[in-house]
Amino acid sequence: MPDPMKIRATTVGDETEVKVLMSHEMETGQRKDGQGKTIPAWFIQNVSVTWNSKTVLSAQWGTAVAKNPFVSFRFKGGAKGDKITVTWVDNRAEKRTDESMIA
């Protein structure tokens, strides 16, 4: 099973800042191993973030995103104690969902 994400959500004025760190190899499909064989691409394809079950971000990623990606964004309306849920799905259909409260 993939490792957990690290999610931090804090209110800054009337906005909520969400920072997410994900654990993923994000293999580009361009690299070769010691034997010269291409290492197959393996990367997060879809990311979605919900705030109290309302989608506040959805993104489609490719191989240009780094290993162990870091994402930060802001949205309006969040309040302390609200639930933030982050889900990613990669091209092997592996999936990880984690939750956090707005602090």
């Binding site: 490792d3 957990p4 690290k6 920072k19 760190l21 654990s23 190899e25 506040v56 971000l57 959805s58 993104a59 489609q60 990623w61 490719g62 240009a64 995103v65 780094a66 290993k67 162990n68 990606p69 870091f70 994402v71 930060s72 964004f73 802001r74 949205f75």
Partner: protein
């Protein structure tokens, strides 16, 4: 709403950033190719800026979280956690322990660094055999190292505390003196020793600045920023890894994990860093 995902890759003198706006859901790629023609000093500045930008999302936190789980989980043949492990401040006390290591442990009758002590606890508390506990000292992609994760967790609790390594026990003194000697020991086909790169001020290898580890300031700055997430490797690296890879580049044979030479060098540098505020896990190129 702006989402930023940064590509952490600087190996080939290139920093690319990816900007994504949610409203349009369109990828706007802007590859800021930092020209390799930058003057050397400004390359150093650029790396510093890049590091500051990443500080916020240091992936070392992923290792810290995994290490905390490993510390608390009931594991091994005895199915107990590491919460009874004595890192020098008493069983289960993690906070601040790293600032006093390496140190002499009477139960093992040996000076130990953090990595060696973790292996000791995995063996004595959890009943792993020593080779199981040591089998993956350093991570490599999908083959993750439990030791490096535990190191990330334990060290993170000492952030902000001053280094405070004692030389009280005669074995600590002996280890420190051996560490100092090993630091200047030159050998191998290239005559290299630690001193070749780390005994002078303001030098660099290619464009990489080299700390002078023979001065207090140099040792303090270097020692308090390990372990670190190495962007170029996508791995969190422990201090034992740092020594292992230095010796590889020195053309020496392979440094054994938990060996006396690694502990002696670590004690030498940790002690010289005394008084400095510990600030790791850090993030490095």
């Amino acid at each position: 709403m702006i989402l930023r995902a940064e590509r952490r890759e600087l190996g080939s003198c290139r920093a690319a950033s990816l900007i994504l706006t949610q409203s349009a859901c369109v990828l706007a790629l802007s590859f800021c190719v930092t020209a390799c023609a930058l003057a050397q000093t400004s390359a150093v500045d650029e790396i510093a800026k890049y590091r500051a930008a990443l500080q916020d999302g240091n992936p070392a936190e992923l290792w810290e979280a995994r290490g905390e789980d490993l510390w608390k989980q009931k594991r091994g043949p005895k199915q107990v956690s590491l919460e009874g492990c004595d890192l020098g401040l008493g069983p289960g006390i993690v906070k601040g322990a790293y600032t006093r290591l390496p140190m002499y442990f009477a139960d093992a009758d040996r000076v130990m660094d953090l990595e060696t002590r973790l292996v000791w606890c995995m063996v004595t508390l959890q009943a792993y055999n020593e080779s199981q506990a040591k089998k993956q000292p350093f991570g490599n992609g999908e083959r993750k190292s439990d030791i490096e994760a535990l190191v990330a967790f334990v060290t993170s609790t000492s952030r902000g505390m001053p280094m405070n390594v004692a030389l009280k026990h005669p074995k600590e003194v002996e280890m420190y003196q051996a560490g100092e000697k090993i630091f200047s020991y030159r050998g191998g086909p290239h005559d290299f020793g630690c001193v070749t790169c780390h005994a002078d001020e303001g030098k660099r290898i290619r464009l990489q600045d080299l700390p002078n580890l023979t001065t207090r300031e140099g040792a303090q700055k270097a020692y308090t920023t390990w372990p670190a997430y190495r962007v170029s490797q996508g791995e969190l690296r422990s201090f034992e890894w740092r020594l292992y890879d230095c010796f590889r580049q020195q053309r020496f044979p392979e440094l054994l994990f938990g060996s006396d030479a690694s502990i002696a060098l670590t004690l030498y540098l940790a002690r010289n860093a005394n008084g400095a505020i510990f600030d790791a896990p850090a993030i490095k190129r």
